[in-house]
């Protein structure tokens, strides 16, 4: 059965390519249908009962956060919940994918993938507004992922160079990062010894490092601002001297020819005997080398034939929305780590390749599937359900928390939106930046909760200020029950249960002056688990 299906897909893809039409809706099965049939087949094999379809409010909040990085407003919530159109979810997805905030959210997600919270050469890479502007532009213009990665590896477009500045003078670090992020392969173990269980040896590692050893990061200072250029020398080799435990001071190694991972040695013209490296001069940029290893690597990584590239990104984008990669961890493709749904992964990779690596197209398909739209309720307690039988749970990032607090409390309406930055400042980053342990498990911390409880920077969202949510609730004249319902629709994007309404009204009325109580009620919802996570 699977082989027939794959053949069908391949035929469809081939036919579509020949016709020049996007294969998304053509042929037997759209990708979203294929996703659902594969996931359902997985459940059947394990006799798993999945969660039901998500409620509208659950889906609404989840898809807003995943696509635009913030929650819907009260009015958007009410309109969606009241809409009787059977295709309203699909239409909402189209609307959000066309929203300019989608590009910003994608840029935030991928910035975290490319740099993490503690990038190398942090003095240069900590503040990377120029990079983020470049990255957002790529997503806004719908640049194909293969072109985007190519630009990152070339580092020639203004803003893109900062990615490689992380690895300045550290070709080994570049090797590890680029293999992990773009090829889904953990090469790091093979730096110091042959990989203990995977097939990679040190020669494979240093073969890849050969592509980065000639890279030079040039620095120019104009006033206070440093700018960087990714340049490349015409010579320079990686010297390999054996396992790390056998090293002794003064032990020189032998040069290693660059080799594509799992592939052939680089076909390189020999350096002419009388070639000399130009002397670096201040203010003068290094000329382009006659043969660029950097370009060859960029070509190879992003080629459609590259055996790792498409699967790695398809897996990563799947994990972005479904919680867990089909290969998990998302950047650990190896023989011992089998994909949970191998045919699905192949289909995602093939179709993405056929669609010119258009990530927006892939996201549209994933988010329209029934699998993505499952409820977050259910008996399975896993954060990231293994068989995608329930929606995954993820904490909001620091970036999302800042934006969501603003949206939930109508912060813009107070007219004071400039003094609180729209991207997380140092305090927000410290409290919310890195909430996971080494294995990716979420951990609540003292510093996060002391911040929630006592920081003025949080209180400013809940405290009454003309125009904000607390002010609107206090200034309204309808009964408290109605106002509490509005509170829930605004902050949690769902109708309140009768028990919740009763409890909140009792709380607010327990004081003759309701100002403090309404502020506290808003605060309680802002710091709740329901708000803190996307589920």
């Amino acid at each position: 059965m699977p082989r027939v299906r794959r053949l069908t897909i391949a035929t469809v893809v081939l036919a579509a390519l020949l016709c020049g039409a996007s294969p998304a809706r053509a042929g037997d099965e759209s990708l979203r249908q294929l996703i659902d049939s594969e996931v359902k087949a997985g459940w059947a094999k394990k006799s798993i009962a999945p969660a039901p379809k998500s409620a509208d409010s659950e889906f609404l909040r989840r898809v807003y956060l995943d696509l635009v990085g913030t929650i819907p407003t009260h009015d958007e919530t009410v309109a969606f919940l009241a809409d009787k159109e059977p295709k309203k979810r699909e239409q909402l997805i189209d609307k959000l994918l066309a929203d300019p905030r989608f590009a910003r959210q994608q840029a935030n997600v991928w910035d975290l993938v490319l740099f993490g919270r503690n990038p190398g050469n942090i003095d240069a890479t900590r503040k990377r507004d120029g990079f983020k502007v470049w990255l957002t532009k790529q997503f806004a213009e719908g640049v194909g992922y293969d072109k985007l990665v190519r630009e990152l590896l070339q580092g020639e477009q203004a803003g893109s160079e900062l990615f490689q500045v992380q690895f300045r003078n550290q070709p080994e670090e570049a090797t590890i990062a680029i293999s992990r992020i773009f090829l889904g392969t953990q090469l790091g173990c093979a730096k110091c010894h042959d990989h203990p269980y995977d097939k990679w040896t040190q020669r494979d590692f240093y073969g890849m490092a050969g592509f980065f050893v000639r890279i030079v990061i040039e620095e120019a200072t104009a006033g206070n601002v440093k700018t960087y250029t990714v340049a490349e020398k015409a010579s320079g080799e990686v010297l390999f001297s054996g396992a790390a435990k056998d090293q002794k001071p003064g032990k020189k190694g032998d040069p290693v020819k660059p080799r594509f991972l799992g592939g052939n040695d680089l076909d390189e013209p020999p350096t002419p005997k009388d070639a000399k490296e130009p002397t670096p001069k201040a203010g003068v940029k290094l000329p382009k080398p006659p043969f660029s290893r950097k370009q060859k690597l960029a070509d190879w990584v992003t080629a459609t034939e590259n055996p790792f590239f498409a699967k790695a990104v398809a897996n990563r984008v799947w994990a972005q929305f479904m919680g867990r990669g089909i290969v998990h961890p998302v950047d650990d493709f190896q023989a011992e780590n089998k994909p949970s749904h191998p045919e699905l992964l192949n289909a995602l990779a093939e179709r993405l390749t056929a669609n010119k690596f258009d990530l927006k197209w892939l996201i549209r398909e994933i988010v329209n599937s029934e699998a993505y739209q499952l409820a977050g309720t259910g008996s399975v307690t896993d954060t990231l359900p293994k068989h995608f039988e329930r929606a995954r749970v993820r904490p909001l990032t620091a970036e999302e928390i800042v934006l969501t607090l603003r949206t939930a409390t109508s912060y813009e309406s107070t007219g004071k939106s400039d003094d609180q930055s729209m991207s997380p400042n140092e305090y927000f980053m410290r409290a919310f930046g890195e909430p996971m342990n080494g294995m990716g498990d979420f951990q609540g911390s003292l510093s996060e909760h002391l911040f929630w409880n006592n920081a003025e920077q949080i209180r400013v969202f809940a405290r009454r200020k003309k125009g904000n949510l607390t002010d609107q609730l206090l200034a309204a004249t309808d009964p408290w029950e109605k106002r509490v319902e509005r509170l829930y629709l605004t902050v949690l994007n769902r109708p309140a249960k009768p028990t919740e309404v009763a409890k909140f009204v009792e709380f607010i009325k327990s004081d003759a002056k309701p100002d403090g109580r309404v502020e506290d009620a808003v605060w309680v919802l802002l710091t709740s688990s329901e708000f803190r996570f996307n589920h």
């Binding site: 190398g120 790091g188 342990n437 609540g444 003292l446």
Partner: protein, 423 residues
């Protein structure tokens, strides 16, 4: 008379009113509610895991001017050694009180380490791994907090004052991150609630209601982690009184010396007494590239009463056998004296000191040569030191964790606990 308790176990009335329980051994117990289930207070105290205090000599103290004197040698400097309580162990003349408690000390004179500067040295001596590895190793305090701490207690499990480590909780995760106190015991940022007590309580109750409603249908682990961390923060805010040493200080300063560092040491004693498994107290500043002797004489005059006072206090309260006290900096200092009467960084042969926590006191482990330029016998690496510390505290020094897909161990391969120190 209740057959299960003795007079000494009865709670002092004042302590009761303060909401703390004091055992016969003087141990202030967290979680007052827990007492109701135990037969005696002493039983709870004995179940508590071992604790640790790190006295961090920021900048790197000179071993030749403190615990590894070289009288008469060209590298010896102007200070003279004095005989300590222990035959064969001499210390600097400016550490007379420490000399009097030398029977508690295990002086390791043969430290041989690998990170010579401050950022890398601080990292290496807090995590026993090199900073250049770019792996998020946890500090000593985070490891002890995780293995010997109780996340259900009122107080943080990893407390520090003054100069300290730069690695944080690493791959162990934010649940074990350090909690900073100001030198005067003032709590770090965001430790003061802006609501009055009763409004806080009402707000907290509403929060618990909202959470219990949500938990009916949502059972994934992160939600529980979020809730318990919030309760932990609230408990800390209610237990803030423990950090107030102003009543005890006027008498205690006779013993600890009237200095910031002395106050820090008293605070450390109070906190381990209350069950905090790890407290770090930093002393400024030993980085004497110039005027080494002026600097060290001044620092030792603060170190002497505080260090000895802490050990004596812990011992008198019966806490020393369960509390490991570590004295160390990030590097040692050169035997050679430079042209500014200073000593520079030196990692080939230097000294750390362990006391309490089951460490065999009154001994010297390892030796340096006549001028202190190299280790003569029994070199101790960062990994060996940490293995010894973890073993003393009942922690497996080869415990394995994962950071991403990479396995990491608490100490590097080949690290061995020093048997002579552990007895």
């Amino acid at each position: 008379m209740n057959p299960f308790c003795r007079t000494g176990d009865h709670l002092s009335r004042r302590a009761f009113l303060k909401g703390a329980a004091v055992s016969g051994g003087g141990l202030v117990l967290p979680n007052w509610g827990g007492l109701a289930h135990a037969k005696t207070a002493a039983e709870i105290a004995s179940k508590a895991k071992k604790r640790c205090i790190l006295l961090w000599m920021n900048g790197g103290a000179s071993q030749i001017d403190t615990f590894d004197m070289k009288p008469g040698r060209p590298t010896g400097g102007p200070f003279r050694p004095i005989q300590s309580k222990v035959t064969g162990l001499q210390v600097c003349e400016y550490l007379p009180k420490v000399a009097a408690v030398a029977d508690k000390l295990a002086v390791i004179r043969s430290m041989q380490t690998h990170s010579p500067d401050h950022p890398d040295g601080i990292y290496h001596m807090h995590t026993c791994y090199k900073m250049s590895e770019r792996t998020p190793h946890p500090e000593l305090g985070a490891v002890i907090a995780k293995y010997n701490g109780d996340l259900g207690s009122d107080l943080p499990t990893f407390v520090r004052m003054g100069s300290c480590g730069n690695a944080g909780a690493g791959y162990l995760g934010p649940a074990h991150e350090p909690f900073s106190l100001g030198r005067d015991g003032k709590l770090g940022s965001f430790s003061t609630p802006y609501l009055a007590d009763d409004a806080e309580k009402k707000r907290a109750d509403l929060f618990r209601f909202v959470e219990s409603e949500f938990a009916v249908d949502h059972k994934a682990e992160p939600f529980a982690s979020h809730r318990t961390a919030k309760e932990r923060a609230w408990r800390l805010l209610r237990a803030k009184a423990v950090f107030d040493i102003s009543k005890e200080w006027p008498t205690a300063k006779e013993r600890y010396g009237d200095s910031d560092f002395g106050r820090g040491c008293l605070m450390a004693r109070k906190l381990v007494e209350a069950g905090v498994p790890f407290v770090e107290v930093g002393q400024e500043n030993y980085d004497s590239h110039a005027d080494n002797f002026v600097c060290h004489k001044a620092n030792m005059q603060l170190l002497d009463p505080a260090y000895s006072g802490l050990l004596t206090d812990l011992s008198e309260r019966g806490l020393l056998k369960d509390t490991l006290v570590i004295w160390m900096g990030e590097v040692g200092r050169t035997p050679g004296i430079n042209n500014r009467a200073g000593r520079d960084h030196f990692i080939r042969a230097w000294t750390t000191v362990l006391a309490g926590g089951g460490i065999v006191g009154g001994q010297v482990y390892g030796a340096t040569d006549a001028d202190g330029k190299d280790v003569k016998e029994n070199p101790v690496s960062e990994g060996d030191l940490f293995a010894t510390i973890y073993k003393a505290l009942g922690i497996n020094h080869r415990a394995k964790h994962l950071t991403g897909v990479r396995p990491v161990w608490l100490t590097p391969e080949g690290s061995q606990p020093v048997k002579e120190l552990l007895g």
